[in-house]
């Protein structure tokens, strides 16, 4: 009873009660709170930053098309379809097709063809049990029953002429944005990256940097506040200045592009490309690839 009243009083008083509950539960809590507040008059010496922080974005165009099934998968699906055709429970044909209608005749014709294709000679039109089609294929053509195939091809023009800037290329694969940047004397292919300002949250820094580098013409969505990976570089010469951090950490964030295209604003960005994982490996430096390859999707 007393426990229940204590809990209800906690709920009523809200925040204050939660602090009270915490002090009731743990004794270490007050000690921590006092240590956090700076009571001393002497300013504490600032610790040197452990690393220079940079953020990068792995901008992914998700697959547009479903994967093509392998030969084995196609064969297995065909086998299962034949089994289903042999064993399925009766289908209420008279419910879906009005007896004597043209649609029923068309369906019967197609069903006989499918039976013949599935089971071979002796089935379909040859079988004594097959439903008789009232009309022939020529009659159906006369009535204009042939359906046109209105679908678009899975292979896009950019696949054929290998346009790496196109977002329609390789519809089944995951494409990632790579920028060619001038760094000092040479230029390198890298994911879009930039410095993170002091006190700025990392995912916000990544978003800001992406927009400033690649323009406002892209509808992007950064998936999470958490980075998905880290690439560390240490300067080869140990810094003489003790306040300068020895290493640079680049935190990667995953993002999706939903619409639009890259419009580079910076002159430092020479070129961009939307590439699959293997294509990235051919363009990017070896050390960078080792650091980055585990974050990318293989297909």
């Amino acid at each position: 009873m007393s426990c229940r009243t204590w809990l209800s009083s906690c709920r009523q008083h809200g925040r204050a009660a939660s602090a009270r509950c915490r002090t009731l539960a743990t004794e270490a809590a007050p000690a921590q709170s006092t240590s956090a507040s700076p009571p001393s008059s002497v300013p504490r010496p600032k610790k040197p930053p452990r690393a220079i922080l940079r953020t990068a974005v792995i901008l992914n165009r998700a697959p547009i098309l479903t994967r093509t099934p392998t030969l084995f998968e196609r064969a297995y699906y065909a086998y299962q379809a034949r089994l289903q055709r042999a064993l399925h429970n009766p289908f209420p044909y008279e419910f879906y097709f009005k007896p004597g209608s043209l649609l029923e005749s068309k369906f019967n014709l197609e069903e006989r063809r499918r039976d013949r294709k599935a089971f071979g000679p002796g089935f379909g039109a040859d079988s004594p049990d097959a439903p008789g089609a009232g009309v022939t294929a020529d009659d159906l053509k006369k009535f204009g029953q042939e359906e046109e195939d209105n679908t678009v091809s899975r292979v896009h023009a950019s696949d054929l002429n290998n346009d790496v800037q196109s977002l329609d290329r390789k519809g089944q694969r995951n494409l990632y944005l790579l920028l060619r940047r001038r760094e000092g004397a040479e230029d390198a292919w890298k994911f879009p990256e930039g410095p993170a300002e002091q006190g700025e949250l990392l995912h916000k820094a990544a978003e800001r940097d992406l927009r400033s580098t690649c323009g406002e013409g892209m509808d992007t969505w950064i998936v999470s506040r958490k980075p998905i990976g880290l690439y560390e570089t240490r300067s080869s010469v140990p810094p003489t200045d003790p306040t300068k951090p020895p290493k640079t950490c680049v935190f990667f964030f995953k993002a999706h592009i939903l619409a639009g295209q890259v419009q580079p604003l910076n002159e430092a960005v020479l070129d961009f490309a939307w590439l699959t994982k293997e294509e990235i490996q051919t363009r990017v430096g070896e050390q960078y690839w080792d650091g980055v390859k585990d974050m990318l999707s293989g297909f």
Binding site: L53, E73, Y76, R82, L87, P90, K226, L230, F252, L258
Partner: protein, 188 residues
């Protein structure tokens, strides 16, 4: 031949036959509406106890069709095992890739904790799509129409609607290259 032996017994001890009345589609005769008849036959198939399947018959040439479809019992089992093996390969590959990605993420978060605890805490904060910051509320009051929709369109922590499911064939218009941003106020 044997029936003569049994008939006397049957006369003395009649077999108990289940007398439950069974709904039989063929019972209603002379019903006016053929559509209703078709519906009834579809929804409640004829109750056949002497047929192999409980819901109805097989196709008339089922044994012949099955012989054509299935090469042999061993072949069927081999096909099934090969498929399960294939699925296992696909699953293992997918799980390995996910494990690598997770390991990358874990290492990055460990490093971030060492480098900057404040940023680490902020990265771990869960995003509630229902929560609105103060400036968002103020901004929402000034906006109207399309801009208001843009403000409410992307709740943090939820997937955007524009993220499409892969299809078998691409859309007729292809990728939307001309996309103009609506002024989206930055949410904290």
């Amino acid at each position: 031949m044997c029936s003569s032996i049994f008939t006397a017994r049957h006369a003395q001890f009649p077999l108990r036959i289940a007398q439950t009345s069974v709904r039989h589609a063929g019972r209603r005769e002379g019903s006016a509406d053929p559509v209703k008849e078709i519906l009834r036959r579809t929804l409640y198939p004829p109750n056949v106890r002497n047929k192999p399947t409980p819901t109805g018959t097989w196709r008339p040439d089922v044994s012949r069709a099955l012989q054509r479809a299935v090469p042999s019992k061993q072949a069927h089992e081999t096909i099934e095992r090969a498929w399960l093996l294939h699925l296992r390969h696909v699953r293992r590959k997918r799980e390995a890739e996910l494990a690598m990605k997770y390991e990358c993420m874990r290492r990055a978060m460990d490093e971030l904790e060492k480098i900057d605890p404040h940023l680490f805490r902020e990265a771990n904060r869960p995003e509630d799509p229902r929560v609105r910051s103060q400036e968002e509320v103020a901004m929402a009051k000034t906006l109207r129409g399309v801009e208001r929709k843009a403000l409410e369109a992307r709740p943090p922590g939820l997937f955007p609607r524009e993220l499409r499911v892969p299809t078998d064939t691409p859309s007729r218009d292809g990728w939307k290259y001309e996309w103009k941003p609506i002024v989206r106020p930055s949410a904290s």
